[in-house]
Symmetry: C2
Subunit: 827 residues, 2 copies
Amino acid sequence: TLHNKLHEIPGMNRLHPHETEEPHGVESPCLCFMKIHATFPMLTKYADIMKLKMPLIKGNENLQDDELLRYFPNPFRVNRKLLPPLKEEFTSFFSQARIDQFHITDQDKFFSPAQRSQIVWECLSRIKYHETNPTKFGIQRLLGNDTYTAAFPLHDGPITRVSADQQKPSNLRSILHDQWGRFGKWFKIQPIDYVKLYFGERIAFYFAFLEFYTAMLIPAALVGLGCFIYGAASLYQDIPTSEICFDRDVGNITMCPLCDKWCPFWRVKDSCALSRATYLFDNSATVFFSTFMAFWAMLFFELWQRRQSVVAWNFDTLDALEQYEPVRPELARRVMDQRINTVTNTLEPYVPRWKKWMHGLLSLSVVSFMMFVVLAAVFGTVVYRMLVVVALYATSTTRQSFASQYATYITAITSAFLNLIVILILEKIYYRVAKWLTNMECPRSQTEYEKSLTWKYYIFEFVNCYSSLVYVAFFKGRIPPGYPGVKGWFNIPIDQCDQAGCIIELCIQLAVILLGKQIYSIIREAVFPLLSNWWSSQDLIKFFTHVRHFYRWEKDLQLRPFPPLSMFKEYSRMVLQFGFITTFGAAFPLAPLFALLCNLFEIRFDAYKILVIYRRPISQIAKNIGAWFEILQHLAQFAVVSNAFVIAFTSEFVPKMVYLLAFSPTRTMKGYTAWSLSAYKVSDFPEDIKPSNFGEGFNSTTICYYRGTRNGPEYSDELKYTYSMIFWHILAARLAMVLVVEHFILITTRIIAYMIPDLPSYLQARVLRQNFLAKEAFYESESKRISLVETQSDGTQITPSATAASLYPSIPSTSAAVSVAADPESM
Amino acid sequence: TLHNKLHEIPGMNRLHPHETEEPHGVESPCLCFMKIHATFPMLTKYADIMKLKMPLIKGNENLQDDELLRYFPNPFRVNRKLLPPLKEEFTSFFSQARIDQFHITDQDKFFSPAQRSQIVWECLSRIKYHETNPTKFGIQRLLGNDTYTAAFPLHDGPITRVSADQQKPSNLRSILHDQWGRFGKWFKIQPIDYVKLYFGERIAFYFAFLEFYTAMLIPAALVGLGCFIYGAASLYQDIPTSEICFDRDVGNITMCPLCDKWCPFWRVKDSCALSRATYLFDNSATVFFSTFMAFWAMLFFELWQRRQSVVAWNFDTLDALEQYEPVRPELARRVMDQRINTVTNTLEPYVPRWKKWMHGLLSLSVVSFMMFVVLAAVFGTVVYRMLVVVALYATSTTRQSFASQYATYITAITSAFLNLIVILILEKIYYRVAKWLTNMECPRSQTEYEKSLTWKYYIFEFVNCYSSLVYVAFFKGRIPPGYPGVKGWFNIPIDQCDQAGCIIELCIQLAVILLGKQIYSIIREAVFPLLSNWWSSQDLIKFFTHVRHFYRWEKDLQLRPFPPLSMFKEYSRMVLQFGFITTFGAAFPLAPLFALLCNLFEIRFDAYKILVIYRRPISQIAKNIGAWFEILQHLAQFAVVSNAFVIAFTSEFVPKMVYLLAFSPTRTMKGYTAWSLSAYKVSDFPEDIKPSNFGEGFNSTTICYYRGTRNGPEYSDELKYTYSMIFWHILAARLAMVLVVEHFILITTRIIAYMIPDLPSYLQARVLRQNFLAKEAFYESESKRISLVETQSDGTQITPSATAASLYPSIPSTSAAVSVAADPESM
């Protein structure tokens, strides 16, 4: 039925190159292709409706380019011969009535490939294929009920190798592949303008964001690496670790068992290796790195805000508004109510407010429910961890055995993997739920749709990805508070950190989740599609290989369909990665470096994917990165709070400082290890917790020690094992640290934000100038319209008044020119 | 010489009603008046240059007013017969060339009185009175060198009483005085639109702000009053105060002397009255009130942001830009360099960037220096306070004597007055310095000038007004920490709070400064000008009273000149008041009530002043309240931090909670007073501090107590009198309280801000619609201009293309109308 309709779109031709190709076997698909290509009048008609911005013959302003650096050789730049810099042109909303004023040298090249695919898709999305049923329209519906297998724009042509001496190929896909979509070009600045020409603004924006993010990662990676090297270099100078490993008195302190009943006593020196590993990630450089990352996150946001407007200006979408966007076809199909869009003054379908509220309420409850599921899963891994730790410690009567020695590592790594699996599964389930919820909400435009989906997805993912990290960083062993001889809530044993601190576990957790997610996505998006493409091409080759060459459309059909929300997934991965490295980066200074390496790969791989693996996507307008922008802002602010708390509570920095400044008799760190331990009387152990086997050489132990700041057994029964003065002193210092770090970072970034305007000054001047001219022209045309109405009714002519005098030289712009137009005598 | 020049301004007439009035005595002034009035062509010419927005004959949009309430009787509304609501009109930048399209029914009334005075002033400011010297221009310079005594717009006429049965008087000044400028109308909503008509946008904006602020004060005043009543009502139920006053054991605890050497011992019950007074201002309602005020401040800012856009929309200045404003005449006189304004494309003088930086650096250093002066002054009052307290306590050997009993009050009140005087003097000096610095900077426009001055002034005033309060609230008795037998830095005795806490002193300090400043300003701005006006009228009457009636200009000359930065001072007073009640409001819950009463008076008094006492000011454009807007934002954020710290550190709330939750054996407040005291051994007093007279009945005292949480004399020498566990516990609780309150308020207000958009939705739709139309018209005219240029060069005519088709009903707007205009054949 669509066939007949397509004939009726004026100017739309079709091509059926092999409409009834004979099937070769029983299981062969019946492939019928229909190539739609829009004629120029068709394109202009829709460009008018869709308010596309097209170049004018000549702008009235000098759009000069100050970029002097352009003329210097630059190894990071793409080949200028293949991809010459595009000229900045003066554009305007396209209008058929004023078609002569647009810069059309070649009708075939006036609209960019991206624009053409956008127009044809818009047309296909709205075409009715049933005379009476108003909901039966659009290619999406026909694809949904399998009338058509696929609908996609064709790629520019096959990818041919570009050699140095070869002539410039006419095929933009090949050039982009050669200059942009190969790993060999990993160090090149991307030709974003050409990406926009080929794929449209939305996809180009993603690559612009990715490039900016990757560039910003370079300083973070360097600082992180520096901090790690500092930690490694100063490892043997650190007094507390040396005391644990080498000091005879400190090393031989008897420590209380690490679990109830089944664990033996042990000596401080047994945790030497773990203390060393912890020091690598928790030293004075960590405090610096943590503060740096919080700053970096805030600065990233500020600078991206600026960069975003520059990119939008270059794409000519800075003034695009959601209200200009066409309504989603799904909305038109599902909603019959119509009202006037107050901005463009056109009738369009809309969802009443109370329905929106109802859907919002539903979404809220579903998201809340899913978050409870996540928290339950985190609780599950906590239980797993406790069981495994006890099992490992209990395997041996000393702490020197392998299982006991590496219990922390084994538990942390396995539970992190468990967490990772849970995260990935929940992510997959939730993604479907979020899409279902968003579809039900019927958002107005594609932008609004993605915004709604993004928020829903992000709130969940935030809890999903970060809750286990938050637990390890801030709650583990603290809530409920644990010390020997005590049980937690509901009589459950307490999940305690190792004697050396929680930061090593946080580090393992972070590294596993961060890298695990990255590797999983690479497998899912690289290996799997490549294999599947290869497989489906095999499938086809079986049928056609001896018959003839492939047509372009056949080759493109073999490619994977471009998922409609692909960009959403890419952004979500990037933004979550940003969150990982900024909020808990302190625990793992190498995280930015790994992220940088991953992203250098990611840029080229995404480019390769979109050029080679996928069918060509349909172009869309974009003026920014959508809701991710606000999410970045929230993440940056969360990073400030989180880093302040990590410095104060997870790191050992504050207790060390308190010891150094207030308690150390020698004003050095000497004695810190002993100071940080509290005593416990073995006879105070309840029967069901008391170690069944004291361990070798511990039979005569009466006092054991544990990491904590509580009163010893010498206190009265009321005060025994309650928090000591040192605890409250350290707590006050920790809280003060949080306050100081937070206020310091927030005030400094506020000042920085004040100094970095959101728009670069040259752009601000241009935007203001354009607005000024627009206002002037508007008033001009407005009053002219009125006067024309008057003139026609009076039958009299307008006499031009005296020309305006001016104190300053008057504006050599529209006002003069249009006043000529208003005077018909002068022509 | 100005005479001759004025003739040359085309269309500008002058009237010399009594150019050479004969002086009556030797000391009589030679009064020569020159009445300048601009003809209509003159006005239109300058309105064109100044880009005034004037009403068009008919707008294309329905500017409907949804305000249904308008038709209900409303006691708060001004008389509708005298001041009918103004119609919303569609305006545009005035242009002489399109004069026919403007809605001119009466040439005398087309421009509002405010606009006419603005135009004439603009003209006078730029007129050259010397042929060759380019710096000799402008009335300001002639006023400066006393060529003219004064230049002012005339008021509308004399103020006549409006009686109920009387016909509507033609004189807007009388109507405004009757309906707006009288104390009898204190409850009426102001006729802001008419104020704008008479005085211009800048002054109307001030009154709109004042009205909004006063309205917002009502809930704050009610809550504050409620909190105060709660405190008074629960005074006798409070356990700690009852213990101090009535409990035999607690009341008779021996307290350590309040000053070194000269003060005697005393009993806890002696501070009963002070403890009661403190309880009035520091009870559980204080915590609520403090949080409420922080919220209120944030909400105030959010709502004002919204209100401001509505007012600007009503004034039709929402899209006014600083770049549209004319350059200040002072800049044109002092700077010869010129460059192009990138927005309006006109040549104008400018100050090079390096000069701006130099001036900025200078300003910074001067401001810093002045701030050090302030801090020195605060330190001075601290010293004063210590001396007075010691003197008062030392007058008697018991604490029951009057001087000793009220020592705290006496010291606090006198030192607060001292502070007030210092604040007022420094304010005056600094105001001159700031003006001098700003003049030197040569800002571009009047808006920029006031912005620069505002920031300079505010930063200083912030330190000037609040530093003594900050000292009392957070530092007094804490830095350096004081307890018996210890001296502060440099051997200076320590400025301690009373046993009952610092909050009462903070309250006194706040009340004195807040009310003192208010009363001073009323005296300065009401009593003084009224007297001086009366005096100068007496002066004139002496000469002319028997000769004839006064002319209007003579009467106006008798009025006080309107100070050019008068609005700046009014704003600064209001914003500082806002700061006082929000940042330290917790200490004095009645502050919002006092502010409310003051402001109700202030509105009417300011109106009266501007209508009756002052000469008519020159009208100016304004789109917002300038830099004060950002300052309000900073103050609101500072209020959050400050209130969090006041709750945590100044108020006794946190120690009380810690006692109740962690230490109280009975889970009530019983025993709190004893718990909050620490012991000191009398024999540990150093000789120079030891009380010379133990006081009556204290001769056998060996242990005395003081308010503090330190270890007692039973500890080892090393730990004796150091902070106890309780201290650190309370400190941790205080810091946690700060964190919780801050994050709670900031997150909640962020959510509220998200829910309250900056523009009301109806206004947003209108603004977007206008921008959309503007963009369309711009592109239209832009491309038309190009095509005209082409047509003229080709000699061929444009053939209109086919009309645009559309999926949705097309836009019934400019596009159609203007395309007719583009086609000359159709006329």
